[in-house]
Amino acid sequence: MLNSGPMIVEHMRVTAYRAADLLRAFRYWSVLIEERSQLTTSVRRGVADAPDREVLKAALITLGSGNNVSYASTTDLSEGGLRRAIASAKSRAEALAAFRLMETACWPAAVQKGQWQSPTGAGMSLKERFDYMRALDAAMATDERIRDRQVVLTSMDRHRFFMHSAGAEQFQETQLCIPHMEATASDGHEAQSRSYGPYVQGSLNAETLKALDFTPETALRIATEALELLQAPECPTGVTDVVLSPAQMTLQIHESIGHPLELDRILGDERNYAGWSFVKQSDFGTLRYGTPLLNILFDPTEKGQLAGYAYDDEGTSALPTYLIQNGILQRPLGGARSASRAGMEAVACARVCDPLRQPIDRMANVNLQPGHSSFQEMISQVEKGIWMDENRSWSIDQRRDKFQFGCEWGRRIENGTLGGWVKNPNYRGRTLSFWNSLAAVGNRDTYQIAGTPYCGKGEPNQAITVGHASPVCLFRNIETFGGDV
């Protein structure tokens, strides 16, 4: 039984069927209806900002006419609004048919029927939210050098109904819990920040937040750490071993594995904006991406991670799929449309941020599988190195090769032991040589899930949720450096 109940399912079905009835004259069509409610509350420097509720409804119509396909997005879900959207898509498809990239017959046909639901539950009242946030804010106010404190709670409940002319009929409900807190310490000369944002699928309530350690204890810890960083020396410059936390591994996986494996990038669709990829179609099945310790799984079916679902937004059913196995590149992240163009097998990754944008290849949950090393075993293998945690800065070239990433904080590792703190830790490298320097992968005890709600890509631009999970990992001989002294 879906938490949203039969009322919403029925209500959305009526709208989708209304659109479908208007589309019956076309041989190829699909319709995606979304209804979403969202609430964002924040407390900054002890003061609550106005709560922001959003109630959003939109439809994405896809139809073929004149042997070409066009999309039409609309927030007007009345019959008149849907008619106008369909008329504009028909007119545009025919007017641009002479220069189409793909004939209608090559577009994906979805047949699966089903329902899916993320973890769900009751939320918090406004009063409960503000009480919870004030407690966190107060816990960070430990010292006059804590010059900025911020707590933000965002909850979202999203329903999507998808129909396709080939027969698909899919309903999915997703709840998101997006908590974030940050403390900034400043001595007047420089500032150091520590943050914490455990983003997951599910209901935003006190129970979930406590299970995520989104607590006053964590708030106190990050404020204390921000103060400690003010006193810390700069991260040393040199070539050294690096041990990365799951939070930083999230960024590393995202930028240097997830994005370069997106098939639409490999096909060149994103070259004008988000960029190309160094990966070629001929690399799949043969390219040694990393050491044999590297196993990357694409898994939208992992409930609780930020980008879980049963069907993507073209209606393809989701299945766990290895992208990299024992270090060898296996499969791209290509939805049905891209896979059809490339002559490759699809995975369910064609996604929209909302129905006002068209489906493009996306990551969903892309996870690095745990290995066998305990945290202590990894640290003990390092004669000289740096532990780094929580991403702060990220930059990579448009083909996803040369990167430079920075973290909020680090610690020296000397002779197998964690030592003192360092500030402004940065490292840089090149994608393949970096993953081929992977020397140890942490066990499940070190494994954590994370992700971001704001992965940007596409023209027109889209920001979307992606989930990542990783254990702690050890890399050898990495170029590290700190801030300017």
Binding site: R45, V47, A48, A50, P51, D52, R53, E54, V55, L56, A58, N68, S70, Y71, A72, S73, T74, T75, D76, A85, S88, A89, R92, A93, L96, A98, F99, R100, L101, M102, S125, R147, D148, T184, S186, D187, G188, H189, E190, A191, S193, G268, D269, R271, N272, Y273, G275, L356, Q358, S393, S395, D397, Q398, Q404, N426, P460, N461, Q462, G483, D484
Partner: protein, 436 residues
């Protein structure tokens, strides 16, 4: 459609004023866009679509408490607005007081910008594909009107219109050489010449790539490359909250510890940038705010709420600049290569981030038309390299010259909705630290 949305907006102050009582204030923000788009790959239409988007955001306050609700869908009728206001009213007692809440009690009226239709979208797309010939054309065409309005129960009615057509396109070759052009409201008749010019520029890149070692090089940063760096600093560089909390990367500029070259005069110029010049709280914004003058910090940007918290003047909607203007210098574009002598011509930078906030050190990768220059002549395209330099060096000690010509750089972002306006920047002759 424009007449309908205009009627809706102009009736709103009356609708809102009928729904409040006592100390209540009711503000509404309306956004509408009707955009057509075409994504091009290999000079073919890869994906195309239309976006009809309407959103109404209501802000209800009573004393120092406020709550807001955005509704996307059909724009609500007066009766539906009454229902939404009642829902907000029921929540309001649970919202803590906000001592920094600031609303403009003086009703203002303003209409700026121009409504643009999508007169020749199909023809524009087809002409681009046809004129590209055998070139690998990739990019985005957008076309259509957009409008933003703020109305209130006090009588505010502030409207900005924009939109129009834009092309943001590149040519690529198999060796990853590429050139890019962005044009706002292009004339159809000019498209073939634009494509021909891009072909010629791509040919200039089709030489053996030059690999350079890490080090410091004299470099010309085009207006687009400089714009990429300044947009990253803009995240939290100029807002009064960031500056007072010490987290602005320009903290040392604002506390007087550092300064830029005296030739740097940077403004937030909403008038020149053609962006909305009002806030959601009904305040009108100045046409121009000097941010840096003679290389020294002059003003920060303060939203209404931040202005009250930090006791400053309101001069921004959000604290983020949206229309930067850097005053030009004396170096003609035609003399740039000669002035470089031996060094780098950087057409565009990409994926900039702050690698050391305290020193405002920025890292980015080269992209598109970047060249190695020797003896005042282009030698060949630069293999992609990473820069990692402090803004205090780039626009401070290492700044040799500012370009004479100030380029209009249209905003191309479309997250959530189409961006507005443009920035106005010259190129700069400076030195870059190359690291990888």
């Amino acid at each position: 459609m424009t007449a309908t949305i205009d009627d809706y907006i102009k009736a709103l102050p009356g609708v809102l004023s009928a729904l409040v009582s006592g100390n209540e204030r009711l503000y509404a923000k309306v956004y509408q866009e009707e955009t057509q788009y075409a994504r091009l790959t290999q000079a073919r239409v890869n994906q195309n679509g239309g976006i009809f988007q309407e959103q109404l955001t209501l802000f209800l306050s009573n004393g120092l408490s406020m709550i807001s609700m955005s509704v996307e869908g059909d724009l609500p009728s007066p009766d539906q607005i009454r229902g939404l206001v009642q829902a907000l009213r029921e929540d309001l007692p649970y919202v803590p007081q906000d001592p920094w809440l600031t609303l403009n009690e003086t009703p203002e009226q303003l209409e700026t910008g121009n409504a643009h239709g999508s007169m020749h979208f199909d023809a524009l797309v087809n002409t681009l594909c046809e004129s590209a010939g055998k070139q690998d054309l990739v990019g985005l065409v957008l076309s259509g009107p957009q409008v933003l309005a703020v109305c209130s129960s006090l009588g505010h009615c502030l409207i900005h219109r924009g939109g129009g057509s834009s092309i943001d396109v590149s040519f690529f070759d198999a060796d990853y050489n590429a050139v890019k052009r962005v044009r706002r409201d292009p004339d159809l008749a000019d498209i073939p010449a634009l494509m021909t010019g891009m072909s010629q520029d791509l040919k200039a890149l089709q030489q053996p790539a030059v690999n350079i070692k890490a080090g410091i090089y004299r470099a010309w940063l085009s207006a687009e490359a400089l714009g990429e760096l300044l947009s990253t600093i803009s995240w939290n560089g100029f807002s009064v909250d960031s500056i007072r909390s010490g987290s602005s990367p320009l903290n040392k500029l604002y506390n007087g510890e550092k300064q830029l070259s005296p030739r740097i005069h940077l403004y937030e110029n909403r008038q020149m940038g053609d962006v909305p010049s009002f806030t959601s709280e009904g305040f009108l914004l100045p046409a121009e705010v000097p941010l840096i003058q003679d290389g020294q910090a002059k003003n920060h940007l303060s939203s209404p709420r931040a202005a009250k918290e930090f006791d400053t003047n309101i001069n921004s909607d959000s604290g983020y600049p949206s229309a930067l203007h850097l005053r030009g210098g004396d170096l003609p574009d035609s003399e740039v290569l000669q002035r470089i002598g031996t060094g780098l011509y950087i057409g565009r930078l990409w994926y900039t981030n702050i690698s050391d906030p305290a020193s405002c050190r920025l890292t980015a990768m080269t992209r598109y038309d970047c060249f190695w220059v020797e003896g005042g002549a282009l030698v060949g395209p630069l293999s992609p390299v990473r820069m990692d330099s402090s803004i205090y060096q780039l626009l401070g000690e290492d700044l040799e010259a500012l370009g004479m010509h100030v380029h209009q750089i249209p905003e191309t972002q479309s997250y959530g909705q189409r961006g507005w306006g443009s920035s106005s920047l010259p190129g700069v002759m400076t030195a870059l630290k190359i690291t990888l």
